[in-house]
């Protein structure tokens, strides 16, 4: 079955900057797709090509199997919102939201109904009579969002639509967005550089890096099974911990990691037998505990720094050349520079090739 919106081998070459190369993905009807990546990853470039604002070098965009290539942006039944709100300064909030409906000659009654409905969904119905200059930044951004969503379009393109809001409002809007999407039931592509936004909102998560699609899938699946160190460290706060080793092996569920003459043994791992050269041992902050005694499956280090955060303490532990972060309850206390031992959960470890950053090791 053909997908609703299909992006096939899309590339954009610039003479100097990184464009995008061979991007393919598809969106089923009514789904919410999030493109996540750092700045310069090609997120907005991709979105702008889908919108028809930017011309691709090669590849194509298909809507219900029809290529969109020759359809100019204004003829594509899509609606877009940008990071800078681009509101009409002399129009009220109401008229700003109504503007895409006016050009499509809806009846006054219809316009009123639609504008009020979307404005109340976004919590700006009290500000409809005000001018953009009379409302806060957050309300401006929601006005721009309402103007985008008020139109009945085949798909919606949202480029960091809540990035400019302050942290508290952004976190609130993130949750609201999911409700809005469910209520409208429309196909949306959303660009973000905030991993929490991406995990919270996406049906399908696309991770971009340097113009390439690194990994895609269900957000929980991507979180638990990152393909490489880029994805592993992009998702999560603190990000996944990585420790460098020169070589190692797995034999009979025992992982041996070597740095020079030092050797670390972790028993009960769920990897098939393997031997490898330079490697990164990955683990998340919640699958490790700190102890002041040597023990099995424990890696020695010392307390580099500790930070009280809310009702927990985040310890930064120095292990060889690497720093790792572990979150504990307040009842555990270790001093600065104290020698400590990190006990690993052998079933929650990841191995990455240190050269390529790619995952290695087959789970058993």
């Amino acid at each position: 079955m053909a997908e609703y919106l299909e992006i096939k081998s899309l590339s954009k070459e610039y003479s100097k900057a990184t464009g995008i190369s061979d991007i393919s993905f598809s969106c089923s009807e009514g789904s919410f797709t999030v493109i996540l990546g750092p700045s310069g990853a090609g997120k907005s470039t991709t979105l702008n090509i889908i919108a028809g604002i930017l011309q691709e070098t090669s590849g194509e965009v298909l809507l219900k199997s029809e290529p969109l290539g020759r359809v100019p942006p204004q003829k594509r039944r899509m609606s877009m919102v940008f990071e800078d709100y681009a509101l009409y300064p002399t129009f009220s909030v109401f008229e700003n939201i109504a503007s895409p409906l006016r050009v499509r000659s809806f009846s006054e009654n219809d316009i009123k109904k639609k504008v009020i409905s979307i404005a109340s969904m976004l919590g700006i119905e009290e500000h409809l009579d005000k001018l953009p200059s009379q409302v806060s930044g957050g309300q401006k951004q929601r006005t721009a969002l309402a103007r985008c969503l008020v139109r009945d379009a085949d798909f919606y393109l949202l480029d960091e639509p809540i990035a400019h809001l302050d942290a508290k409002l952004r976190h609130r809007m993130r949750g609201e967005f999911k409700r809005i999407h469910r209520e409208l039931g429309k196909t949306m592509i959303y660009v973000s550089h905030d991993y929490r936004e991406a995990l919270a909102l996406a049906d399908n998560l696309l991770i971009f890096n340097e113009g390439r699609l690194e990994q895609s899938g269900n957000p929980q699946e991507v979180f638990s099974n990152p393909k490489n160190t880029f994805v592993a460290t992009l998702l999560g706060e603190p990000p996944m911990n990585l420790i460098n080793y020169q070589s190692g092996s797995v034999k009979n569920a025992c992982l041996i990691l070597k740095n020079g003459s030092e050797s670390t043994e972790l028993k009960g791992v769920n990897f098939a037998d393997i031997e490898f050269g330079r490697v990164l041992l990955g683990f998340r902050h919640f699958s490790v505990s700190i102890h002041d005694q040597v023990g099995s499956n424990r890696i020695p280090g010392f307390v580099y720094v500790w930070e009280p955060i809310e009702d927990t303490i985040t310890y930064t532990i120095s292990i060889g050349e690497d720093l790792v972060k572990v979150v504990t309850t307040r009842s555990e206390h270790f001093e600065l520079n104290q020698n400590v031992y990190l006990e690993m959960d052998p079933k929650a470890l990841y191995l990455f090739d240190a050269e390529t950053g790619n995952r290695i090791g087959t789970r058993v």
Binding site: G175, L199, Y304, E307, I309, D311, T316, L336
Partner: protein
């Protein structure tokens, strides 16, 4: 060295605008103290008065028991780092850091030792021969900090030094500053609007708003027991839940009306209620949980938003009153939008606030 005291300090601009309204605080040797508050709260004016960059309108400031009101900035024995790095573009990292020592005519060999030590501590040794323009924001800010910290001073003033950095750089430098400050036992006053930064770095936090101090306390005290509703709302993300409730008596029994639910103190696990007809109960989202409706009575609501954030979940529960209660849940929690739920609170974590004074009610 490093004792600081502010006695009833005011900052009045243009004879009428009161930016700082009579604050008093003292801190001791080796303490890292943050001034935390939103923009316009008076934190930067306070720091600038301590530095000598701003005249003290009223009150007195003492550094190491010497009244500094009439001393020039250069005579106060304070070192300062700013949000804008303000590095000398024509000098290398090494020479930028060495600069305050050179103008104090310190011997070259001594300068070398101190600069190298400081670069080592802040992890910028490999950049010593580079010029600022070729460096990332994080390295430039580390250089600015190293320049401030390299010379002995009674007090180090740090003004929003992490604000310009990206998230990863900020987290890294935050930890480095704390480690250096602890190892060298420096007394520091740090200005920030970021509650997480203040919590992670400080021994004590001064929370300010509208020119007055709302609370002075350790990060744990500020998080666990905010003195008033301003602090409760400012510190923590998502912020503290606050619900306006009524105490009612029916058939000789005393109930608390929360949304549409009527609960006795026993049902809430509380020893008693404040002796007021209306007040606010507050609890952190971490201390809200779901109850089994067949076994326990609790606060009725429905799921307004639900987000899976990788290693935890977050939900906003709407009560019949329209109030929203945020909860943080386990990674395994799954909730459907609009699903009916029953909420319970961890009783020992419930706080009470007075509606008029907004202060915490401690004697119940």
């Amino acid at each position: 060295m490093g004792h600081v005291e502010l006695r009833n300090v005011w900052k009045i601009y243009d004879k009428s605008f009161e930016a700082v309204k009579g604050i008093s605080v003292s801190f001791s040797d080796g303490e890292f103290v943050s001034l935390l508050g939103p923009s316009g709260c008076g934190k930067t004016s306070t720091l600038r008065m301590v530095a000598g960059l701003e005249e003290i309108s009223r009150g007195e400031i003492f550094i190491d028991s010497i009244k500094v009101n009439d001393l020039e900035p250069g005579d106060r024995n304070v070192a300062m780092a700013f949000e804008a790095y303000a590095l000398y573009p024509h000098l290398t990292v090494y020479e930028n850091i060495a600069y305050p020592l050179r103008i104090r005519k310190i011997a070259d060999s001594e300068i070398k030792t101190r600069v190298n030590e400081m670069c080592e501590s802040l992890g910028i040794t490999k950049y010593v021969n580079e010029f600022p323009s070729s460096l990332s924001g994080g390295v430039q800010q580390s250089t600015g900090l190293a320049r401030a910290l390299v010379r002995p001073a009674s007090l180090y003033l740090l003004d929003e030094v992490l604000s310009h950095l990206d998230a990863a750089e900020r987290t890294m430098l935050r930890a480095e500053i704390r480690r250096v400050q602890k190892l060298m036992n420096l007394t520091a006053l740090f200005v920030t609007h970021d509650q997480l930064e203040a919590m992670a770095m400080s021994d004590r936090i001064i929370v300010m708003n509208d020119g007055i101090i709302h609370q002075i306390g350790t990060p744990e005290e500020i998080y666990d027991s905010p003195e008033d509703l301003f602090v409760a709302g400012f510190v923590g993300e998502p912020p503290m839940n606050t619900l306006r409730v009524k105490r009612i008596t029916e058939d000789g029994k005393e109930y608390l009306q929360i949304g549409s639910s009527k609960l006795t103190s026993a049902e809430l696990g509380l020893k008693a209620f404040p002796q007021k007809s209306e007040f606010i109960i507050a609890m952190r989202p971490k201390y809200v949980g779901l109850l089994d409706s067949s076994k326990q009575k609790g606060v009725e609501g429905s799921v307004h938003t639900f987000e899976n954030l990788g290693d935890y979940t977050q939900a906003a529960i709407e009560l019949e009153s329209g109030d929203i209660v945020f909860m943080i849940g386990d990674v395994d929690l799954r909730l459907q939008l609009d699903e009916k739920v029953i909420l319970g609170f961890v009783p020992e974590k419930v706080l009470f606030y007075d509606i008029e004074t907004t202060k915490q009610i401690k004697d119940i």
